[in-house]
């Protein structure tokens, strides 16, 4: 079972898991994702939570319904996932990292230089 954290509702964490798998290529474009039933039982979470995560991914254009067959990773999902993750990094994560670096007195330029050296 997945370890959930308390900062975010589980359906968002599920969405992130799927997104990361698409990014990593372990879920290929055109590949089926596990059914709501499979995920709910294996993760022991409410089916509505899984449906909500999948609906979000459908709305984002990363998954699509094929009637009678289930949900599949869309063509172009990899690029979309990369774009949305880049945005999330630049708008959310990087400002946080930057703040932390400032608090610790780490200069980003010198850090990059020391990496190159």
């Amino acid at each position: 079972m997945h370890e959930w954290h308390d900062n975010e509702p589980i359906y968002l964490q599920l969405r992130t898991t799927v997104l990361h798998r698409i990014l990593a290529g372990t879920l290929a474009e055109g590949e089926a994702v596990p059914s709501v039933r499979q995920v709910a039982t294996s993760e022991r979470i409410n089916p509505l939570t899984v449906s909500r995560a999948y609906q979000l991914l459908v709305d984002e254009g990363l998954l699509e319904k094929r009637r009678g067959l289930g949900l599949f990773v869309t063509t172009g999902a990899g690029n979309k996932a990369r774009t949305s993750e880049r945005e999330a990094f630049l708008n959310v994560e990087w400002p946080r990292i930057r703040q932390r670096m400032d608090a610790l007195g780490i200069d980003p330029h010198s850090l990059l230089k020391s990496e190159d050296a």
């Binding site: 308390d6 709501v36 039933r37 039982t41």
Partner: protein, 282 residues
């Protein structure tokens, strides 16, 4: 229409009130956890909402029916597993299946047999030789094969080992997809079901102390872990010292206000339960 609509139920045993103005509303398609300390009235509440006990006062409607006047009709629509093994020990498993098929109009024999086939239960053996885990599996298979709109489970995993617990939740969640069924479940193992639930009811001394959906809890309650040197903001409902620092739980306090004093997150059900149970009586 709610599957269960219970208002101000009172049930007294002598001077003690097992239910002391208990309210419970369960909409269709929900999985509701009824959580409370020993002796808080959970089992009485379950029996009451099934119409299995008389009440001193209160209003109770289940599936639009009053349990005392529409008993037979209601029993066709609800299924119940009590917290103690009640299957007749002398009966053979196959005879028990025959029996339920004979008395219950909504029993789907093929479904029960399919569920039993996934277990190690030998249908020709009597109930008494089955292990506790197998008896629970058998009971669950019989009950889940009844096409009921309400499933009531009292401590269903008590005394089961890890593997049986896994199978229990697998079966329950799998079966849940078969219909718009509501489940009311009591357990002390809050951590193992908290993500399965859509709603929780905390119960103490015969009363509901909190009744909310998981989404409402996420919206209303915040856990603040104080960073060193900060003093907690007033108004917390619970406070405890952990390795991470002092943790306080607040209700309806904006997160951005709390975030100035430390790290904010959503309390899990156990943390919330402890805070609410230890809070002074409202």
């Amino acid at each position: 229409m709610n599957v269960i609509d219970a208002r101000q139920l009172v049930k007294r045993y002598g001077a003690n009130a097992a239910l002391d103005g208990f309210d419970l509303q369960v909409p269709p398609g929900r999985i509701v956890g009824l959580i409370g300390p020993n002796g808080s009235g959970k089992t009485t509440a379950l029996k009451a909402v099934l119409g299995l006990t008389t009440l001193d006062s209160g209003e109770l409607v289940i599936n639009g029916l009053t349990p005392w006047t529409h008993r037979a009709q209601l029993m066709a629509e609800v299924a119940y597993i009590p917290d103690t093994g009640i299957l007749p020990r002398w009966m053979r498993v196959s005879d028990l299946v025959d029996y339920v098929a004979g008395v219950h109009t909504r029993f789907d024999r093929a479904r029960a047999e399919a569920m039993l086939a996934r277990t190690d239960i030998n249908a020709s053996r009597p109930v008494r030789v089955l292990s506790k885990g197998m008896q629970v599996q058998l009971h669950l298979a019989l009950i889940l094969a009844i096409n009921a709109r309400l499933l009531v489970l009292d401590e269903p995993t008590l005394g089961l080992d890890v593997l049986f617990r896994e199978q229990f939740y697998d079966t329950l969640l799998n079966d849940y997809f078969e219909g718009e069924r509501s489940i009311l479940i009591t357990t002390h193992e809050v951590r193992e079901i908290e993500h399965v639930l859509t709603d929780v009811v905390f119960m103490a001394r015969g009363k509901s102390r909190l009744a909310a959906s998981i989404d409402e809890i996420r919206e209303q309650y915040t856990k603040l872990t104080l960073t060193t040197g900060n003093t907690p903001l007033e108004g917390f409902i619970g406070r405890r010292q952990t390795l991470a620092g002092v943790e306080c739980i607040y209700r309806n306090v904006p997160r951005d206000v709390l975030a100035r004093a430390g790290a904010v997150s959503v309390p899990d059900l156990v943390e919330l339960f402890v805070a609410i149970m230890e809070a002074p009586h409202a």
